[in-house]
């Protein structure tokens, strides 16, 4: 599903962001991507959704080789992914419903089918009652649910979440996290970047830990480590 093989990523001014990163996330898996700020979590996710290209090494996502994607092919990859961010990235001048529908419209979905599909995902994230609300009328947790609904509406095989709970209080965090687990339970792979170690400890999921651009721990391969490891 997502396979990194000896991936290096250098930025012209930022030095080496990723050093020799290799891992594989299987279909339907739930994986945490942990590490301090600047460890390279976001870079890994950007490589997955082809916002960045690897400097060397290979990134394969659901059949696409990211390094070889042309600009034209990137949208095709992204339609198979759902992406959620810490800052929600909703359009402020559209209602929750319109924000979700937007993701369907831009991919050229059949117009008649859109309202039903939108209501289904809004129901799935528990926001059907607030379909007509604008983002500023919703709490942070609710806004993130809208963003998750938008990510889900194209029925992605992988959901990428970059610090999805970073802006949320504890209660909202738990709610959103549970929602992501539910989504995973219904078959969608989830890769969640977070530095919230409490959250990581709560759940028995795969953990990938980055440190200064290097993958220092992979719970699928390594024994739980005493120090520095997320499982400690």
């Amino acid at each position: 599903m997502i396979k990194f093989t000896n991936v290096f990523k250098a930025f012209p001014k930022g030095g080496l962001a990723l050093k020799d990163v290799s891992f594989h996330v299987a279909k339907g898996e739930f994986a945490f991507l942990t590490g301090h700020s600047g460890a390279g979590k976001s870079t890994v996710l950007k490589l997955v959704y082809a916002a960045e290209q690897p400097t060397s090494g290979e990134v394969r996502v659901s059949g696409f080789a990211v390094a070889e994607l042309s600009r034209r092919e990137i949208p095709r990859l992204r339609r198979r992914l759902g992406i959620v961010f810490q800052d929600f990235r909703l359009l402020e001048d559209r209602t929750a419903e319109e924000n979700v529908a937007f993701a369907l419209e831009v991919t050229g979905a059949r117009r008649a089918a859109i309202p039903a599909r939108v209501m289904r995902v809004l129901t799935q994230v528990g926001l059907a009652a607030k379909a007509q609300a604008y983002p500023h009328e919703l709490s942070g947790g609710e806004q993130q649910r809208v963003a998750i609904a938008r990510a889900l509406v194209n029925e992605p095989t992988v959901l990428l979440a970059d610090e999805p709970t970073g802006n949320l209080d504890e209660r909202a965090t738990r709610g959103v996290f549970q929602l992501l687990r539910d989504i995973n339970a219904s078959g969608t792979a989830v890769v969640m970047a977070t530095h919230d170690l409490d959250l990581v400890r709560q759940a028995p999921h795969r953990v990938l830990e980055l440190q200064e651009g290097a993958l220092v721990y992979d719970s699928a391969v390594d024994e739980p480590k005493g120090e520095g490891g997320a499982a400690s």
Partner: protein, 285 residues
């Protein structure tokens, strides 16, 4: 397709102020171009009215037989530069002189013999009223054995010639400069509209919209803004022309094709401006 059009129109409703500002900016940029165009149109009209008076007069030797003159007239009228050739007999010349030179009426009355020669007056077609063509025609007229002298006001024609060239050159440069300024202003205005929606563009790309899908509403919007701005500019020009024509001097307004050309120019700049702004923006997200 319908979605694209809806998105393009929605942008006007979502950002009415910025849209109105873009349209007004485009309108004023094109208004300046249009005002300059009006000056150019009227200057050209005035110059061509003056140029219509360009005339070559060939004075004939006394006693030229009328059959010769008739043949010569046919010959002259077949010159490519010539629009008309008219014979003025000695008597007609005298009658005209009496009518036109009122101060000399007494002198002219007392004449025993008509001192005025017969002549052929030659009008030159538009497009040939410059010094080179006119003197070429004059030289050919001198070639007729019965022609005594040829006059055409060489100095005057040469000055007119220079004035027309100057007006054309200055018009081209100033017009191009105004048009360039309009292009830059309109391009910047549209760039603002694109930047204002940068967030939306980024989100569209994240959810898998193609570049074409993102670009098209902007192109449509740019074209609509250019069209409205161009229309408004023509309206402003009409207002300015109306005031000048009514209160200052009689002037010409654009012909329908010229007015349409301004609107078309606006639409084109709007389209190209947004194509380049969105293109550049998309390269970076």
């Amino acid at each position: 397709m319908t979605l694209t059009i809806r998105e393009a129109l929605l942008a006007f409703r979502r950002a009415p102020l910025l849209s109105a500002l873009s349209v007004t900016t485009i309108a004023f940029a094109l208004f300046v171009v249009g005002l300059f165009g009006l000056v150019a149109v009227n200057l050209r009209d005035a110059l061509s009215q003056v140029a219509e008076r360009v005339e070559i007069v060939a004075y004939l030797l006394p006693g030229t037989p009328s059959e010769t003159v008739t043949l010569a007239l046919k010959d002259i009228e077949s010159f490519p530069e010539v629009s008309a050739a008219t014979y003025v007999s000695e008597d007609q010349a005298l009658a005209r002189a009496r009518a036109e030179l009122v101060e000399f009426r007494d002198v002219l009355q007392e004449l025993e013999r008509n001192p005025l020669p017969a002549s052929i007056e030659v009008k030159v077609k538009a497009g040939y009223r410059d010094a080179d063509h006119v003197s070429a025609v004059a030289d050919r007229l001198r070639g007729f054995p019965f022609v005594d002298d040829v006059r055409f006001g060489r100095d005057w024609v040469e000055k007119l010639d220079r004035l027309q060239q100057l007006a054309g050159g200055v018009g081209l440069i100033v017009g191009a400069a105004f048009a360039a300024v309009a292009v830059i202003i309109i391009g910047t205005t549209i760039r603002m509209a694109v930047l204002q929606r940068a967030r939306e563009i980024a989100i569209m790309r994240l959810v898998g919209a193609t570049d074409g899908f993102i670009r098209f509403p902007f192109l449509l919007q740019g074209a609509i803004k250019g069209l409205l701005g161009g229309g408004l500019a023509v309206g402003l020009c009409y207002g300015a022309w109306y005031l000048i024509d009514a209160h200052l001097i009689h002037a010409l307004f654009f012909t329908a094709p010229q007015a349409l050309a301004i609107v078309g120019f606006g639409t084109l700049i709007g389209l190209l401006g947004s194509a380049s702004s969105v293109g550049r923006h998309l390269q970076r997200v």
